[in-house]
Symmetry: C2
Subunit: 245 residues, 2 copies
């Protein structure tokens, strides 16, 4: 049976972290909100699932995953739930918790990257919080980005199984998520990322990014029409005025 | 053997979610950074653990927990890891994932509450981002707070085991965390919370808060000197200008 992924159909956003895991594992899934209304899919179907009064485990927001009768929301919880079946996490509990911890740190970085363009309110346009966004983005590019990159470099360098993966010696969902974060950061902050690269702050992270990109199923997915382009409705947006000058 | 909790010693912050779980379970723990330097504790000991180059699983930031040789960071991951041993989560996997999902939504709310006073940068003083904070806090009080409260009310109302707990018929770490969030919100936003209460937006949430507060071990902890008061260095700060007018 197919998994059902529910997420906003026109952006990569947080749904992409789940989609990448499903694609990298070759797992069958239906991308519900990208489907057609007249086939019982589309955004309306996603909204119906969220609003269903009979649902004892309603998600607070997309993305969420349906696996038969099980409904799971929150990106990190979805990945933690899915990963054993997709073989995208090691079997022992300690490695599973460590992978989750990395994913939660990635989630914090994603929220901070989002808030560079929406520091005041999600319900307002970027244009209505542009001045605040420039202040927040300047701090992000100057201090937060390198703090996160440094931590990822450190854990790659100290992985007892070597720096090819974040956890152990095999691909995990955290590797896939870090790939997506690098993609997003390069899109949104090309100058800040170029500077970090020039300073050697992301050597192992960028090698991991390359390795994930070359993974056959990931590469096929990235070439497919299922992979959307980044755009200015998503989490990672290219507003040159928010990048390093 | 005792658990070691590592967190900033003068604030409740995110460490309190872990501390409440340990206290409610009557688990032995050492609050390392609150200890004395000359006994190998204190903030210096916490910092040493974070900076230890030999540590393959370094936490990105406090809080983190040491359980023998296992080191776990990220509040939601710590609670997910601890809860089975503390009997603060149901045994079946589906309930465990649902509890985690609620905790992650609580974590999002906590980040948003924090960012009401620090919308631009953690590294700046509140006074240097006060204008931005007022804009962000206004949105939080007007739209975000009620959205979260509504979701908690909804899942309490739809809990098949009844509205006394968030998950099933027993106390879980998510209940303890929701208690702490209500404490924090009432401290930081007394007027917004009074309005939500008057409008009946948090009926079941506030009943749960009362019930957790009356739990014997929690009540004893709250009366003890181990329970710090909220203050203006933590996540929930009382700045009247950020509350509803």
């Amino acid at each position: 049976m197919s998994y059902e992924l529910h997420y906003w159909p026109t952006i990569l956003g947080r749904g992409e972290f789940v989609r990448l895991a499903l694609e990298a594992a070759g797992a069958p899934y239906v991308d519900v909100a990208r489907g057609r209304d007249d086939q019982g899919q589309g955004v309306a179907a996603m909204q119906r699932t969220m609003d269903d009064a009979a649902q004892p485990h309603p998600p607070f927001a997309p993305p969420f995953l349906k696996d038969g009768k099980i409904l799971v929301g929150q990106t990190a919880a979805i990945l933690h739930y899915l990963a054993p079946a997709l073989k995208l996490v090691a079997r022992n509990e300690q490695a599973r918790v460590w992978t989750q911890q990395i994913q939660l740190t990635i989630a914090d970085l994603v929220t901070e990257a989002h808030d560079t363009h929406h520091p005041i309110a999600n319900s307002l346009f970027y244009e209505d919080q542009k001045a605040e966004a420039q202040r927040r983005a300047a701090d992000f590019c100057r201090t937060r980005l390198s703090k996160y990159l440094h931590w990822f470099e450190r854990i790659l360098a100290h992985n007892p199984a070597g720096p090819r993966h974040l956890v152990g010696g095999r691909l995990s969902y955290a590797d896939l998520s870090l790939f997506q974060v690098v993609e997003g950061l390069r899109y949104a902050f090309p100058r800040a990322m170029a500077q970090a690269q020039a300073k050697g702050l992301a050597l192992l992270v960028l090698q991991l990014h390359q390795r994930v990109q070359a993974q056959p199923r990931v590469a096929a997915y990235l070439r497919s029409p299922r992979r959307l382009a980044f755009n200015e409705q998503g989490i990672f947006r290219r507003y040159p005025e928010l990048d390093l000058v």
